[in-house]
Structure formats: C-alpha cells, structure tokens
Amino acid sequence: MISDATEIDVKTAGQFARDNYLSVHHGVRSWLLTKDHKRIGLLYLFTILFFFLIASVAAALMRIELITPQPKLVTSETYNKLFTIHGVLMVWFFLIPSIPTVLGNFILPMMIGARDVAFPKLNLLSWYIFIAGGALALWSLIHGGVDTGWTFYTPYSTTYANTHVISMAAGVFVAGFSTIVTGMNFMVTIHKMRAPGLTWFRLPLFVWSLYATSLIMVLATPVLAITLALMSVERFWGVGIFDPKLGGDPVLFQHLFWFYSHPAVYIMILPGMGVISELITCFSRKPIYGYAWVGSASMAIAVLGFLVWGHHMFVSSQSVYAGMVFSILSFLVAVPSGVKVFNWTATLRKGSIHFGTPMIYALGFIGLFTIGGLTGLFLAALAVDVHVHDTYFVIAHFHYIMVGGMVMAFMGGLHYWWPKISGRLYPEFAGKLAAMITFIGFNLTFFPQFVLGYLGQPRRYHVYPPEFQIYHVLSTAGASILGVGYLMPLIYFIWAWKHGRVAGPNPWRATGLEWQTPSPPPEHNFQQTPVVTGPPYSYSAEKDVDVDLASI
C-alpha cells in the first residue's frame, strides 16, 4: 500500500494548489468555531505549548535554585509552589493532552479513512472545556499558586494549606472532563467509523494505542474528578471523609487519587508507544514484529494499569499484605511494556534503517523508556521502595519515562506528521541536531538524579547536604542543554511553515491511509472513502534499501 510519491502538489511561493483544511476558511471565527478535527488538533497544540512554557519556567527556576545547597533564589514556600505548578501543568495540561489531542485528533480519523471523528462538535467543546480548566489553574497561579504538590495529599490540602487549593483543583477537575470527552469521542470513532475492510487487526498500532488510552481516560478520570471534589468540599466545609477527627482516613484520599493517577501515567505513555510503532516500521522499512502482540500489549497495559496503584502507597501505612499484592501486580504490568520493547527491537533487525529525525527520537525513546521502565521495577520491589520512595530516584524514574519517553515520542511524531499537517518538510539537519542535543541534555539532567535519590536526597526539597551539589550542578547544566533542544524545533517548525520544502502526500513513503491524501489534507480528508484490502505496514526492507525518504 505504499503510495507513489510522484503526486506532488505544484506550488508557487507558499500556496498549495488545491483547497486544503487551512485555506478553505479564513478568519478567527473559522478557527474558534471549527468542527474540523485537524484544526482542533492545531488549537490544542498551541494551547498545550503555552502551558508547557509556563511549567518549563517553573522547572528552570527550580533547577537554578538547586545549584546551591542553601536557598538562594526562592523561599521554601515559593519552592513548594514551583514544584506544584510544574507538576500540575505538565501532567494535566501538557502530557495527558499532548499526543491524543494533537496528533490523535489530527491523524486518527485519516488513519481509519474517516471524514472526521464521531462527534466533531463535542470535539470542539472538549477544547473549550480544556481552556476553562486552564483558566482556573492560571487564576490560582496568578493569585499565589498552590504548595501541596501535584498530588494534593490530605490532610495538608484539606486542612492546613493556606494557598489557592480549591481553584487549582477546580481547574484540574474541569480539564478532566475535556479528557473524558476526548476519550469517549475516540472510542466511538474507532468502533464505528473505520473504512470498509479496515478490521481491528488491520488497524495501525497508533490506533490501538489511542483506543487503549481512551479506555483509561474514560474509566479513570471520573475517579479523579470525584476525589478532587471531595477534597475541595472538605476544605471548604471544614469537615469531610478524610478527616481523622470524624474517624476518616487521609489515606483513603490516596487510594482514590492513585486509582486515577497510576492509570494516568499510562494515558501519558501509551500514545507515545503507538507513535514509536509507526516510526520504527516506517524507518526500518519492515512490518512490525509481532503486530498482534504489540496491539494486545497496549490493551493489557490499559487493564493491568488499573490494578497497581498501591505501589505509590507502600510507606503510607497501607497494609503490608496489600503492598505485596500491588507489588506483584506492578511487576506484571511491566511485562507487556517489555513485549513492546522487544518487538520494536526485533523490527529493527534486518531492517533497512533510515536515520531521519523521527527515527532518532524513536531510537532514543526505546533506550530511555527501557531505563525508566526498569527503574520502575526497582520501585515496585517493596524493600527497595522503602529506601527510595520520595527521593530523586522516583523523580528520575518518571522523568525518564515522561520526558525521555513520551516527550521524545511526541517530538518524533510531530516531525513525522509535520509534512502532512503543514504540507512542508522541516529542515532535516536542524531536526537531527535538535534530537541529539535533546538526548544529551536529557541524560545529563536526569541520570545524576538516580544517583542523588539512591544516596538519599528527598524530592521536593531545595536545601540539601553540600556533598550532593555536584549532581545538582550536572543536572542543571543538562537542563539548559535540554532547553536548547526544545527551543530549536519551536523555531524551525515556525520557519518551515512558510519556507520548508514542499512535502507532497507521502514524503516518507509510508503505508497508512493518512498518506494517501494530499499534504495538507483537504477539509474532509478523502475525496472518497478508501477501501482497505490488506494488513498494515506492507513494507519491504530488501526493496527499500536505497529508497530516498524525504531528504534523509
């Protein structure tokens, strides 16, 4: 199903020959009232970029503060607010939406041969709900922020904190409904709107991962909503079910919170894994190894991920027997992830590897996600967790997965589908350079943190023993390099929008229905609904040894 890349749009300076989703309507209203999933994907992209910038500033301030063992830049109260806003914005206003609402919204309907998602108006509404949630969170931030940590643990959040907890929680509550609507929309779209011949086991793996993600979004997020509501009501009313004075248990909050928040991390990583599957196959010119295993692994992660939440509570006075059960289940949930890593690696074997920018991000993902995932197993072991819980070891673990994994997958996906979205190629040399800078900066930032945590540095502290300083300095140096790695794509994507080489429908000579339509796509994606007759990823490594993919 590889399309012939000869059907290139003839262009004059900056205009594309045919009417596409960008040119068909003009004006602010056509964007703010759009029902087109592609435009909504771009609206989300700008929005999450905004929140990513704020959260990055908070991270930068923290890293600068941490250069010295004694407080130099901020008070402890302010430091608490910095890590809180960093966590809240990065988790709920950047990572969770990222791939699903940007790449998922843009690409999913095209990948299944549909004209749009099942409920386009709800799709737009989900963006407005997201904006409303973000506005509430910003309101809280502007009025001084919150110092509870992104986890809002009781009784501090309900009883003792003097910061704007309820408005921040309200922001997250509202944003959660955006997630639920998106998840529901994607599930119905995948169930009901696949093109003729596109059976479940012919779906691209990105679709499988979005389906698994949507399952989690829909089943986990409501529990977060009720939990934040209960916490807020208790704070407002002065009395509630987490209050020991009434015989309540603060740890009940943790059960409810983590029942959502652990599956939430799978919301954050599964879409990234889906992107990696697409990138590895395309840039190895080989069908994925063990397609059904990879797709099933996504579903297994989605289901098993709901059964492990207690591993966040090993030292919270949870019963040791419950701890053992959660520990075993946490080891179990690592297995499908391991299956995926194995299958991606096996796909590379005897492939015809093309080192385009998306591939560099994908290969980086595999290595860094593996490190992050393995260190998760350290944490799942009860005895080890007693020592490293609430230390920098945990921070390094989840940043390896979220930044080394998910953000790199997001970058890889953005680079891969940018030609489809914009009609133009980004500059390949700059892309490769930024990817390498990101990789180096990332490891320098976060590897020292594993050591720090192992040596005993607690998280959420800005004061530390002087013998730890060297690791913090290395980490901050790495963070500045990482920042450069993120800034470069921001600049060259904007540059490429107007000045990049015209891409044509299929610069990567990829399989997949989204590449069978012009770049940028027309408003309703396909002139007529495609019919699918074979499996995905019908690449041939032998044939494509010398094939020229874009400009790599």
Partner: protein, 220 residues
Amino acid sequence: MSTLTSPASEDAFVAQQFDNIEQQREAAKLGMWIFLATEVLFFGGLFLGYTVYRFTYGQVFVDTSRKLDVLLGGTNTAVLLVSSLLMAFAVRAAKLDQRRMLTWLLLGTALLGCVFMSIKGVEYHKDYVDHLVPGRHFEWHGPDPYNAELFFWIYFAMTGLHAIHVTVGIGVMLVLALLARLGKFSRGNHNTVEIAGLYWHFVDIVWVFLFPLLYLVGHR
C-alpha cells in the same frame, strides 16, 4: 415487537461525518453508554468511601441510618421508578412520531423528577432542623458522635450528587419537551430522546442503590 421501515427522509438527519442514519444512531448510543460508564466511576468514588466506612463503623451506620425517613425514601424510589416508565414510553412515542404524547410524557417525567426533588427537600429540611447536617451545628446524642457525623457527610454527599444529576435531568427533559412541541423529533430523528432516556434511567439506577445502602442499613 412491531417494526418500522425507515423512510428516505431520515437521511436528512445524518451529520456529514456519518455515512447513514444507522451509523449515527449506533454511535450516539455507544457514546452515551460510555458516558454512563464514566458516571458509574464518578459515583463510585463515593461508594468506595461508603464501603470503607461502613466496614469500619458498622454499628454507627446502623444507628444513624435509622434516623433517615424510610417512608419518604421509599416513596422517592417509587417516584423515580414510575418516572422511568414514563420515560420509556416517551422514547416509544418519539419512535412512533406521536408528538403530543411525547411532549406530555417528557413533561410527566420532569414532573416526577420535581416530586422527587421536593421530597428530598423535605427530608433535607428535617435533617437541618434535627441538627444532622455535618458542620458546626451537628448534634448527635448517641455514642460515637464523630463517626455519626461521618455517616451524615456521606449521606449528604451521595444524595446531593444524585440530586444534582436529577436536576440536570429535569432540565434536559424540559428542553426536550419544548423541542418536541416544536416538532423537532419527527420520525427518524428520535435518537436524542432515546439518549436522554438512557441518562434518566441511569439516574434511577443510582437511586435504586442509594436507597437500601443509606436508608436500610440496619433492620427496623
């Protein structure tokens, strides 16, 4: 079951992203059922709190539960069950293009919803007068007054959240009744009524669980 043939005019109601009316209907139903699954988990957090504290403070829950008015609670249950009957008939009327019947049935459902809310209001008022509302004015003259306050917090939280859902449902029914009156649900376009019906029945199901769990903890 009688069947209807679908006239060509149904296709006028198909949105551009769908291929035919059947796909649109199936998608809407699936979407609403998924939403109801999210609602199960939304209420579920409260059910978890209830379960944990009933397990921990069993005797207190027995004593406090007896303070709730079983007659009013039971009546409310019957009210919602009958309202579900009216709603089911409303969906049927929409499918059969019986405009006036549909309007009256939707109004009837909304009315019974209001009856439910009124009875709830009477109960809440009585609880307020009896100093059973958690907070500064809570009074409990039995043993374990703090745990008793916990039960009533859960009671108000669960029935309050449910009441919010009933209120939303009443609003939806009133809007639908108006749209029905204006002829918006002619044959082929009944899906919205069916979807709203699913929501209303779900709200009924939640109460079906709340009644025994809150009102009938101990025997009388």
